[in-house]
C-alpha cells in the first residue's frame, strides 16, 4: 500500500470526526442562543458518560444494543437496502424472545437461554423480511415500508402489553402497568460488573461484530450481498439472484435488531415493557454511518454514541438541559457524514486518475456517483 492510499484512508477516517465536531459546535451555538452554558452542558455530558466506573458501565450497557442494531444496519446498507426499521425489528425481537421465554419457562436454562436469543433474532428477521420481500419482489420502497412497520410494531406491542401479555400480577393488583411478567431467571444474561447493569450481551455483540466482518468479506454470501449493494445490474449480469439478496439483507438486518431486543430483555429489563427500544433503531444508524459501515468501526462508534445517550440523561437530570439535544446532534452527524462523502469520492477519483496517468494510460475518470447507498462504502 502506497503512502497515497494511506493518506486517503486517513482523510476518510477523519471526516466523520470532523462531522461530530461541527455538530457539537453548532449545538453549542444553539445552547448559547437558548441561554444555556454549552461548556457546562458538554462537560456534564462527557463526564457523565465516561468519567466514572458507573458511567462507563452504563455507556457499555447502551453500547451493546447499538452494536447489534448497527450490525444489522451495516449488512442492510452494504446490500444497498436502506433499513430504517431497526426500531420495529428490535421491538418485535424483544417481543418474540419474551413470549418464548414465558411460554417455555419450565425448560432447562442451558436450552432455554440460547433458544430465547434465537427466537428474538428470528422474530426480528421476520419483521425485516416483510419489508425485504416487499422490496425484492413488489418494488416497494424499503424506507417507507420500514418506517410504517416501526409504527405498526409499536402499536401491536402497546396492545399486547395491555391485553394478552399483561403481567398477571399487575392485573391481579389492578395497577395495570403495561409490561409482561418477568422471564425465568435461567434466561437472564449474567452481569459482568456487580452492582451495575453491564451484562454479557456486550461480549456477544463484540463476537458478532467480528463474525459479521468475516461474513461480509470472507464468504461468498457476503461477497454477493456487497455486490448487489454496489451494482445491482452487474450482479444480475453475473448471475446473482438480486431479489433474493435484497430480501436477505433486510432479513439479516432484522435478525440483528431482533437480537438486540432479545438481549435488552434478557440482560437488562428481564421483561418486555413500553419504551424498550429507546430509539436504538435510529441511533444504530448514526453509529453505523459513523463507523463507515464497517462492523469493526462500529465498535468505537457505538461506544461513543452509547456514551452520548448516557451523558444526555445525566445532563438532563443534573442541569436540566433537555436530552433532545443529542437527537439534534445525531441528526446533524448523519447529514454531515453523508454530505462529506462527496470529498471522499472526489479524492478517490483524483487518486485513481493520477494512478492511471502515472502508468501511462489516458486518465479516464470513473462515472459520476449516482448517490446510492453503495456510494457510502469506502
Amino acid at each position: 500500500m502506497t503512502r497515497r492510499t494511506w493518506s486517503l484512508r486517513l482523510f476518510e477516517a477523519l471526516l466523520p470526526i470532523a462531522a461530530v465536531l461541527l455538530a457539537f459546535a453548532i449545538g453549542a451555538v444553539l445552547l448559547l442562543a437558548l441561554g444555556e452554558n454549552p461548556l457546562e452542558a458538554y462537560w456534564t455530558l462527557i463526564s457523565g458518560a465516561f468519567g466514572s466506573v458507573a458511567g462507563l458501565a452504563a455507556t457499555l450497557t447502551k453500547m451493546t444494543p447499538l452494536i447489534l442494531v448497527g450490525l444489522g444496519i451495516v449488512i442492510s446498507f452494504r446490500g444497498g437496502v436502506i433499513n430504517i426499521g431497526g426500531e420495529g425489528q428490535l421491538i418485535i425481537g424483544a417481543l418474540g424472545a419474551t413470549a418464548f421465554a414465558l411460554a417455555f419457562s419450565s425448560w432447562p436454562g442451558w436450552l432455554l437461554l440460547p433458544l430465547t436469543l434465537i427466537m428474538g433474532a428470528l422474530a426480528g428477521a421476520f419483521w425485516g423480511g416483510i419489508a425485504g420481500s416487499l422490496k425484492a419482489w413488489l418494488n416497494v420502497n424499503e424506507i417507507l415500508s420500514t418506517v410504517m412497520l416501526n409504527s405498526i410494531a409499536l402499536l401491536l406491542v402497546n396492545w399486547l402489553l395491555r391485553g394478552p401479555l399483561l403481567d398477571p400480577a399487575q392485573k391481579a393488583a389492578g395497577t395495570n402497568i403495561p409490561q409482561t411478567a418477568a422471564i425465568p431467571e435461567s434466561t437472564w444474561l449474567p452481569r459482568l460488573i456487580p452492582r451495575t447493569q453491564l451484562h454479557a450481551g456486550l461480549l456477544l455483540a463484540l463476537v458478532l461484530a467480528v463474525l459479521v466482518y468475516f461474513l461480509l468479506w470472507r464468504t461468498t454470501l457476503g461477497y454477493r450481498i456487497r455486490t448487489v449493494g454496489l451494482n445491482p445490474s452487474a450482479a444480475r449480469y453475473a448471475g446473482i439472484p438480486v431479489p433474493f439478496y435484497v430480501a436477505l439483507s433486510l432479513v439479516l438486518g432484522g435478525a440483528f435488531a431482533g437480537l438486540a431486543g432479545a438481549v435488552e430483555v434478557m440482560g437488562l429489563h428481564h421483561r418486555m415493557l413500553e419504551g424498550l427500544s429507546g430509539g436504538y433503531g435510529f441511533s444504530g444508524i448514526v453509529a453505523a454511518l459513523f463507523g463507515k459501515l464497517h462492523p469493526i468501526g462500529l465498535i468505537p462508534a457505538s461506544f461513543f454514541f452509547g456514551g452520548l445517550l448516557v451523558g444526555a440523561d445525566k445532563m438532563q437530570r443534573a442541569i436540566q438541559v433537555p436530552s433532545a439535544l443529542i437527537t439534534v446532534i445525531n441528526g446533524m452527524v448523519v447529514m454531515f457524514v453523508v454530505a462529506s462523502d462527496l470529498y471522499v469520492r472526489r479524492a478517490k477519483r483524483r487518486y485513481s486518475a493520477e494512478a492511471m496517468s502515472s502508468i501511462g494510460e489516458s486518465a479516464a475518470p470513473p462515472a459520476a456517483g449516482d448517490g446510492t447507498a453503495a456510494e457510502l462504502v469506502p
Binding site: 416487499l134 405498526i152 444508524i285 433532545a324 441528526g331 447507498a373
Partner: protein, 310 residues
C-alpha cells in the same frame, strides 16, 4: 354493532373531519411532489413538519397572530428545505439517509425548543373555522364543505394550482424535464441545480406550513413528536399518487378518511381496539404501495444526484 356509524350526524362528522385532516397531508405531499418531480426525494418532511408545527405554535403563543405563525412556519420550512437542497443537490449526498438525518434534527430541535421555551403543553388560539356566507347555510352540504379553518381551504386550492403549474407552465416543464432527463435539460440550458433548489425549498416551505396547519389550525397545541409519522406518510402519498396532483389528492383523502373513521370509532365507542384502529393507515400505506409500486413510472432521475460531465 356498527349501526351508530350510519347516522347522518356520524357520516357528516366523519367526512368533515376527514377533509380537515387531509390539510397537513395535502400541503406536505404536494410540496414533496414537486421536489420528487425534479428528482429529489426529501425524507426530512417529518422533521420539517415538526419544526413548522413548533415555530407556528410558538409565534401564535407569543403574538396571538395565526397568520404570522403560518408565515414563520413557511420560512422555517423553506430554510430546512434549503439545508436539504445543499446536502442533496450541491453535496450530492444519498437522499434517503440525509433525509433521515434531517428528520432526527427536526424531531430533536422542535422538542428541545419546546422544552426550553415553553415547557408544558399550553393551548393557543389559532385559525378559527370560517363559514363561507350563504353556501355554509345549505343543509348538510354547508356543513360538509364550507366550514373549515383557512389552511384547509388553501390546501385544497393548492391542488388545481399545482396541477396548472406542473403541467401548463414553462416552470413545470423544466421541473419535469430535470427529473426525467437532467442531461437533456442541462443541454437545453436549464440549470438542474437551480430547479432542484427551488423545488426542494418549496417542498420544505409546504412541509413547514403542513406542520403549522396542525398546531395552529386543527388542534391548536404543540406536543413533542406530534406529527407521529405523518411526514413519512406524506412522502408515501407522492408514490401512491403516481407523482400527480390529483393522485396525491385522492391518496390524502383516503388516508384522512381512514384516520377520521378511526377517531369516530373511538368517539362512538365501537368495539375496535384503538391500537388496531390507529394501525390501519400504516397498513394501508404498505398495501397500497405494494399494489401500485410495480405499474407506476417514477421520475427517471429520482434520487440520482446530477453532476455535469466535463
Amino acid at each position: 354493532m356498527f349501526e351508530q356509524l350510519f347516522t347522518v350526524t356520524a357520516i357528516v362528522g366523519i367526512i368533515h373531519s376527514g377533509i380537515r385532516l387531509a390539510t397537513p397531508y395535502l400541503f406536505a405531499s404536494l410540496g414533496e411532489m414537486f421536489a420528487q418531480r425534479s428528482g429529489v426525494v426529501n425524507l426530512g418532511v417529518e422533521g420539517i413538519m415538526l419544526m413548522g408545527a413548533f415555530s407556528g405554535y410558538y409565534v401564535v403563543l407569543i403574538t396571538g397572530n395565526p397568520w404570522l405563525g403560518l408565515l414563520v412556519a413557511l420560512i422555517v420550512g423553506a430554510l430546512l428545505g434549503l439545508l436539504m437542497a445543499v446536502i442533496s443537490v450541491t453535496m450530492q449526498a444519498e437522499q434517503g439517509i440525509s433525509g433521515i438525518g434531517l428528520t432526527l434534527f427536526g424531531v430533536g430541535l422542535s422538542s428541545l425548543l419546546f422544552k426550553v421555551l415553553v415547557g408544558s403543553p399550553t393551548g393557543v388560539s389559532g385559525f378559527q373555522p370560517v363559514e363561507i356566507p350563504v353556501l355554509s347555510s345549505i343543509p348538510i352540504i354547508g356543513d360538509l364543505f364550507f366550514d373549515y379553518e383557512i389552511p384547509t381551504y388553501i390546501a385544497f386550492l393548492l391542488v388545481p394550482i399545482s396541477l396548472y403549474v406542473l403541467m401548463r407552465t414553462t416552470l413545470g416543464l423544466k421541473i419535469r424535464a430535470v427529473g426525467q432527463n437532467p442531461q437533456a435539460a442541462d443541454s437545453l440550458g436549464v440549470s438542474v441545480p437551480r430547479v432542484r433548489y427551488a423545488t426542494v425549498i418549496f417542498g420544505g416551505a409546504m412541509a413547514g406550513v403542513a406542520g403549522a396547519s396542525l398546531s395552529i389550525g386543527i388542534i391548536d397545541i404543540f406536543q413533542e413528536n406530534m406529527t407521529n409519522g405523518m411526514g413519512f406518510i406524506a412522502v408515501a402519498l407522492v408514490y401512491f399518487g403516481g407523482w400527480r396532483p390529483l393522485g396525491v389528492l385522492a391518496g390524502a383523502l383516503l388516508f384522512s378518511m381512514v384516520n377520521s373513521l378511526q377517531l369516530w370509532a373511538q368517539v362512538l365507542n365501537l368495539p375496535i381496539s384503538p391500537d388496531f384502529a390507529v394501525m390501519l393507515p400504516y397498513i394501508l400505506t404498505i398495501v397500497v404501495l405494494a399494489l401500485t409500486a410495480r405499474q407506476i413510472r417514477q421520475p427517471a432521475a429520482l434520487t440520482k444526484p446530477y453532476e455535469r460531465g466535463d
